[in-house]
Every structure is written in structure tokens, then in C-alpha cells.
Symmetry: C2
Subunit: 213 residues, 2 copies
Amino acid sequence: MSNIAYFPVRPSAEDNRPGKRERTKVANRQAILDAARAVFGELGYEAATVRDIIRRTGLASGTFYNYYKSKEEVFDALADDGARRFRPILRAESDRAVDFESFLRGAIRAYFDFLAAEHESWRINRPAGEVFPHARATPEIVAVFDEVRAAFAKVLAHDHAPAVDLDYFTAACIAVAREIGDKMLERRPVDVDGAADFAVRMILGGLPALPRP
Amino acid sequence: MSNIAYFPVRPSAEDNRPGKRERTKVANRQAILDAARAVFGELGYEAATVRDIIRRTGLASGTFYNYYKSKEEVFDALADDGARRFRPILRAESDRAVDFESFLRGAIRAYFDFLAAEHESWRINRPAGEVFPHARATPEIVAVFDEVRAAFAKVLAHDHAPAVDLDYFTAACIAVAREIGDKMLERRPVDVDGAADFAVRMILGGLPALPRP
DNA sequence: TGAAATCATGACGGGGCGTCATCCGCGCCT
DNA sequence: AGGCGCGGATGACGCCCCGTCATGATTTCA
């Protein structure tokens, strides 16, 4: 049995979980992410300190740096995580959509629902005037933008709609969605339907008026 | 002549400039602002350090803190300065405008011109992915937003346009202007006319489609 | 079981932060 | 003119955060 790959003996015979090294690694990474989310939520990004995050995990300072290089990097990981969870939702809307209107309505609705759901875990006690997750251009967030543009292109072509400046148009749509989404979260009660309706109508009305390059 | 207010003798008899104390005060404040602009331009906001700014002024560290409490506060002062310079331009557009379209076109054109002009003094060598002046809600910037909303209200009423959700609408318009403005600056050559046309048409088209509360 | 790989640990040097006791020179009075 | 008082410039200081690295503990694997 010398040429057979070796696996360590585990308490249970069928236990083929990864080894302990691997498990503590993911546990640590997760602990850091959780601590960071809590700290950013309580102190805000600017005020938060790598040490604050480290203290909350109970790990040694050196350990933190085995996983992330800086506060910025943890934050990006958190933002990336959000974008990664949103991406399949957006993809589903793109696949289902047959025309621009249905796609736009579905995507914005999905985004606002997502925002409202995430709201609780982020807006806790956050200092005013701060810039947050959406603002950074992490790889995963860039991917979401690209996907939106691609979906726009696909769906507009399907509609036989005249060409527009896709970069400007995508940027403008995302800007509207972000801003209306933010304002929506500040109102009580939070009215996802109303906000989505507003954003969709504004974009839908604007589209046919756009200059044709 | 005992009850006559005393003024120190100046080299020239008609020299009624403020005293040296006052002059060095404004000079220091200005020096800090200039140094900060340069440092933020070179290093970006995140990487910049209060010490970097101090070093560039040649002042002592304690002196800096006689004028501003933190890096954030200098930055806000810079942002406020921009907003303060833009405000009269916006005001002029508002006064001149007779309907929504003319106001919107004038205001966006003015904003984009302003952006392009400021571009040089800000974008120098700035690290990618950073959030900048527009993002912070300084008093003067908030005032600009309020002014935009007020102008919208005035001009829409003048048009006998049906009521809209002014907060959402203002926010959406500013978001579009910001985003298109940003994208405009990234293109070569910078095409203010094209960008302004795009933004204006998009908003103008969207307006009549909006839900009426 | 023992050697090697892996990784958590926390002390450390470096440096930025904001303060404060000190001192200087301008403004003001006689 | 001469001197005094005070606004404000100064920079050393103590504090804390930063990122690193030599060390040691634990896991992996033959």
C-alpha cells in the first residue's frame, strides 16, 4: 500500500472533512470577517482600526496579517462577498428577462430587496457622511457592473433598440439605482416597491430620449 | 487724542491692511490648504498623512492643529471651497432659467465645465478606486444640493409640471450628473458637450415618466 | 515516532497622532 | 520710545497603531 495516497486517520471512518489545519484556517478567516463587519458597523470604516478587529477576534496581531494585508483588504473582502452573493440573483434576472423593461424592473427590484436585507447588518450606528460598500471598485463589484452592461447590451439588442452609449448609460443607471436605493433606506417605512417604481420609470423614460452615437 | 482708536503706524500712511497677526493667520490657513491640495493630489486621500501636509507647509505640527483638527477637516475645507465657488454659478443659472429644460441644461453644462476645470488640480497621479470630493457631505455641499432642489421646485412649478417626489428626483439627477461627469473626465478627449447632452436628455426623458405621488 | 511543514504568537522598531509647556513677537498703552 | 501682555508658533513628548519576524507549538505525513 505504499503507492496509495495517504489520508490521516479521523475519529470517524467516513470523516473526510479537510484536516484541522484547513479548518482552523477557514475559521480564522471567517472570524476576522465577522469581527470586521461588527467593527465597521459600530465605528464606521474610517474610525475602525486593524487593532479593533484583531481585538475582537481574540487572535494575535500577527495572525491577522496572515490573512489580510490591511483594513482596506478586509473591507474589500466584505464588499466582494456582498457582490458575490448578489451576482447569481442578477444573473437569474438576466436569463429570465425577454426585454429591457422586464430586465430592468427585475434587476432593480432584486437590488433593492438585497439592499434592504443587508441594511440591518451594515447601517448599525454608523457615523454620518461616510462612504460605504458600493463605493469601492473590488473585482467582484466590477464584475457585477460588467454583467449589468452585458445584460443591457443583450436585452437592448433583443428589443431592436437603437444603439446608445452603453458605458454612459450603464453608469447612469447604476448611479440612479444606488442613489435611490440609499435614499429608500433612509425613509420610514422602507418602501421597496415605491423606490423601484421610481427608478425604473426614470430610466425607462430617459432611454428613448438618449442621443444616438 | 486719548479716546481715538489706536492703529499701529504702517510704512505707508494710507495702509489700513489688517495687522501682521491677522495676515499670518490667513497666510497659514492658505498654506495649509495649498499643501493639502498638493498632498491629496499626489498621494490620494487615504494615503495622505497630516504629517505630510505639515511637512510641506514648513510649519510646526502644533500650528496645523491651531487651524484644523484633522486630515478630514482640511479635506472638507477643500471640498467646501469647491462648493462655495460653484454655488454662485449655479445660482446664476437658476436666476436666468425660465423652464426646467433650460435650467437643467445650464446647470449641468456649468457643472461639467467646473469639473473639467478642477480636474487638473485634483486628478494628478491619484491612486485608482478612491472616493473623492463629491462624496462627502460638507455644509457647503449640502447647501448646493438644497439649492438644486429649490431650483427644481421653482422651475417645475413655473412649468406647471405635475408634482414628483422631489427628494428622489433631485438625488437621481445629481447622481446621474456626478457619474456621467466622472466618466466624462476619464475619456480622451474630454467631451463636455457630449456628456452634458447625454445627461440632460436622460433626465429630461425620464421626468415625464415618473410616478405622481 | 520523528522530521518537516505550517502557522499562531506577541514583542518590537518605526512612525503618525494630538497635546502642552514654553517662548516669541506683535499690538497696545503710557 | 519703551515695555508689557497676550495670541499664537513651536517641537518634544507620550500614546497608540502599524506591519514584521524570530520563536515555538501543532499538524502532517512517511
